[in-house]
Subunit: 600 residues, 2 copies
């Protein structure tokens, strides 16, 4: 029958002066062992913290066997440390355990890397031994923070009457948007499930079902070409409300984010968040996800240079373009740096960049200063509120190019390191449609987003505004949402404008258009990335640092070796076989059998 | 900019006498419309409940347009219902809204089925229109119950200091156990991820990482041949603790289950749960998941018939078998029923079944009564505590056959309908190994389960006991767990006994055996199925009733049509193509393009 054997009486990090005199048993890892004049000390670490253990090696010669990260159990008396040896840095620093019994629960091989946070360890090595990497204080704190974040989200939404509803993860394939990850069906040979890019249509169905307030912390999948800091699988808070307009969504998300920040950072953030229209965000910051922790706003100079003789500016303005600038503030500005920033501007899409340095005496230094009239120079300095030492960067081109370039330079030159300060922001009034790379009209958000005006959508689709909104934190887009289309006729019109003919719409979305016809309530919702939110709040540079077991950019897990080759019989059962190139690749590869994972 | 337009001021089900005199706006669905002497009434339903709306059709002729399940918004004054017309059945039954304004938010087509719980609707029709099915009170209650269950689980474990950690769902393929669902990798062409059957090895890695207390409500996947009431994807509470022995696991699970039952049923269940060894469970109830809501225990008769002249019994006993019986209690027992029960016993594996009816006068009636001695008859009646009218069913065969047969008959004859009463139970001391269909030794639980004794495991593997345990509710196995192997040498020995040679073990599990070598703490854990738990607590006959969007036995979603054919180019990008049979099947099928699902 089941045994009862409590393996420890206390957690290491919770012992203190009040426990002095008690006999305790603790268990954990040997963190650091040291010899002080014939007495051995080591720190025993568990998930709660550290406690110093003192051992008389004559009584316990086995203490000499203890190595870093051995897992041990220690029984002994808690006693106050001798006066003058307390460690005020450590919560348990007033006490130590005098070991009466030491048991090695599991020895440890020599570590592939040291487990403190001060060393830079190659990420591949860390991922290969992720179970050790997660023992590092920083990574352990990230795991705790992520758990606290999702707990805070759930607690808040539970309190607001939301139902957590699980939507399926074996769904329909989606020929548009990001690439799907596919799962061959064994029972319907030749057919495939897709892993969801988001629970979008299912959450809309839940609104039709009358759930009214839905949320889910949902695993989602996107097989995108490797962009920096993307993972094949990621986690989002997904929510939706019926009988909702914009403010209901935004208020809910603000409440959730405030609670998460309270739990992870211990601070109150101001709500409601600032709201910028997409147009303002682009004009002032050159991006739809502005980092508002610093100003360096983009300033329009079209008026200043309206009659300029400087050909670069005048031809841009004549060509329906614009002239804009940022004041990058005081900068060291040798020729090499000016060239580097100009090259960067070209990378960002500019044909060139004009720089102007304001000298101590108020005069300007610039390769093109001679082309500016005095009025223009004066206007330039005034508009940009520039003082001695400031460097002004000017771009002249099509509107979109100008704001993209200056937005990019603004980030390069002004963005603070890390995320000590938090600047939340809503970007609203996104365009409904945009042009794709081939010049075809496509949706900006997704085709289920409600237009602000149906008339405008039909008459002037290029300028039509949608009821979509993004939340941005320190220049990181955390997530987006929209009020959805709940009228099947409007939905059909959107498909039509997108060039999806009626038959195709019916074939692809017929089941959803059918669902919309049974008294669909007005509804809207949101989704934000848990990985990104926790990354920013934990001040980490990459989502991989807050994902317990992430994959590399090439989609591999260096620890388990996933993905792996599988036996041909497994594939045959699923009605698929390898393509010709994959077969060649397999023949060229050593073909280890995959590792086993079993189940509870 | 974002609009602020609260769509309603109150939720329908929350209005009461205190609101009389207030002007309110509510929104929801038209549930029932009726005409009483020139005044129109309808019930407006939202997620919170119903409110009666009274409309003067002369003032609002549009009320005649309202049909079932139209989505409407109503503004008007809350007033007390006229005396004598209150509805005490309804929480809002004291009041009604006198409509001043009615707006149709969305009309509804005629429903494919009525949305009340009294009608039996074909499940395929329900699944095709799941969004309507979920409007039915019973299904809406199931959604709420499931959300409450997971909230209770999380709240409890959060309070106990568990971290919720997300483990990956694109993992290694597993050649053993249930079939994996596979996901072709685009970046590593020809290689595959598997969807996890459980997070088993990852939760063990988290113990090695020092997390100490982990949980996750995890989506898991099994591509099993369609057994009744299985789904390709299902959800389990998965948890694990370091420095844990059995009682730590069992106490935690009991605490969690008690909280869920409290929230869903409003009752306290007694803890600790009864514990039965696997051997006792099999001997007394003929199953490793006994339903303890009724007795009808299996009784051993080997002593009674030790010297019997009845050849069926004596040859079973001589052949190292056993003779056992259940007292099925008073039963109508015409010949036809006796034959039917005997046929059922044969289905369950018996060669035959002996039945004995105790007559009013204490005599016995049975086709084989004449072969029993008086002592045997007397012993039989005494052992089974049988009285007039009782029917005794006796099986004689190998031990396993006898208990399987009588356990099956016990359920058929005694099991209560539904789940009004709740009987929780632990089954412990499972065998470590069992024989598979080919007579090979295999693990009963999984190969990471700790043996109770390493010596016994080596010397007498057939009888070796494991440190595995199951929790059972009303004869439904909710879940299972074990204390794991934390010593890499023991893990290697288990692989060896299972016939996995060293090289294969290294190739398949090398990375895990490596991980075990860095001071792995003793640990154990558990997993139980959320679907099954909620099914029982909601008194539902199938897990499909508590899964928001389930699939059919053939893995299909009648609503969206998933799985679907995909474009050959999508497959080529993934390095796979259809097998020959799947190609033929595709050519024979109409090939609609898959439906689109887009993302927030």
């Amino acid at each position: 029958m089941v045994q009862n054997s409590p393996m420890r009486t206390h957690r290491a990090g919770e012992l203190g002066a009040d426990d002095a005199g008690s006999r305790v048993t603790v268990a954990g890892w040997v963190q650091r062992r040291r010899d002080h004049g014939g007495v051995e000390f080591f720190d025993l670490r568990d998930a709660s913290g550290l406690i110093q253990v003192v051992v008389d090696p004559e009584e316990h010669p086995s203490v000499h066997d203890l190595r870093m990260e051995f897992c041990v159990r220690v029984t002994g008396e808690v006693r106050r440390r001798p006066e003058g040896t307390e460690n005020p840095e450590l919560p348990t620093g007033d006490v130590e355990i005098g070991a009466a019994d030491i048991e090695i629960l599991a020895p440890s091989k020599t570590l592939p890397f040291m487990l403190d946070d001060r060393r830079d360890v190659d990420e591949m090595v860390r991922l290969k031994h992720r179970y050790l990497d997660l023992r590092r204080p920083r990574m352990a704190a990230n795991l705790r923070a992520r758990s606290k974040a999702t707990a805070a989200i759930r607690r808040t939404l539970d309190g607001e009457g939301f139902l957590e509803v699980e939507t399926p993860t074996l769904v329909n394939s989606t020929p548009e948007g990001a690439r799907d990850m596919l799962v061959p069906s064994r029972l319907q040979q030749g057919e495939f499930y897709a892993l969801p890019q988001s629970p979008q249509l299912f959450k809309q169905l839940l609104m039709i079902s009358g759930v009214e307030r839905y949320f889910q912390i949902a695993r989602c999948y996107r097989d995108e070409d490797s962009r920096a800091d993307r993972q094949l699988e990621f986690t989002q808070l997904d929510l939706e409300g019926a009988f909702w307009a914009e403010d209901d969504v935004l208020d809910t998300i603000e409440t959730v984010l405030a609670e998460v920040v309270r739990d992870l950072r211990g601070i109150e953030i101001a709500t409601p968040f600032q709201r910028l229209t997409w147009r303002d965000a682009m004009n002032r910051f050159g991006t739809d996800k502005p980092d508002l922790r610093f100003a360096m706003e983009i300033t329009d100079l079209s008026d200043v240079f309206a009659d300029t003789g400087f050909g670069v500016f005048s031809s841009a303005l004549e060509d329906d373009g614009t002239v804009k600038a940022i004041n990058a503030g005081p900068q060291e500005w040798p020729r090499s740096r000016a060239d580097a920033i100009t090259d960067r501007a070209k990378e960002l899409g500019a044909k060139g960049l004009v720089w102007v340095v304001v000298e101590e005496d108020g005069a300007v230094r610039s390769p093109v200063a001679k082309f500016f009239s005095d009025t223009e120079t004066k206007g330039l300095i005034e508009q940009l509120d520039a003082g001695p030492g400031d460097v002004i960067l000017i771009a002249a081109d099509k509107w979109r190019t100008v704001v993209d370039v200056l937005g990019g330079l603004r980030l390069d030159l002004g963005r603070p390191q890390g995320h000590a300060e938090l600047a939340f922001l809503w970007v609203v009034d996104f365009p409904l449609f945009e042009e794709d790379e081939d010049g075809e009209i496509t949706f900006s958000h997704h085709p289920f987003t409600s237009p602000a005006s149906i008339d405008q959508m039909r008459d002037d689709p290029e300028n039509a505004i949608s009821r979509a909104y993004d939340v941005v934190l320190n220049g990181v887009e955390l997530g987006s949402g929209s009020i959805r289309i709940h009228d099947p006729d409007v939905q059909r019109q959107v498909f039509e404008i997108l060039g999806i003919d009626e038959e195709t719409a019916e074939r692809r979305f017929g089941w959803f258009l059918e669902a919309l016809q049974y008294g669909t309530p007005p509804h809207g919702g949101f989704a934000f990335g848990i990985d990104r939110l926790v990354m920013v709040l934990q001040n980490e540079p990459s989502i991989r640092e807050v994902i317990p077991f992430p994959k590399t950019q090439s989609g591999q897990d260096p620890m388990t070796g996933a993905p792996t080759w599988v036996e041909p019989i497994q594939l045959r059962e699923l009605g698929v076989e390898l393509g010709a190139e994959a077969k060649l690749r397999k023949e060229a590869s050593p073909s280890p059998e995959p590792a086993d994972t079993q189940t509870d």
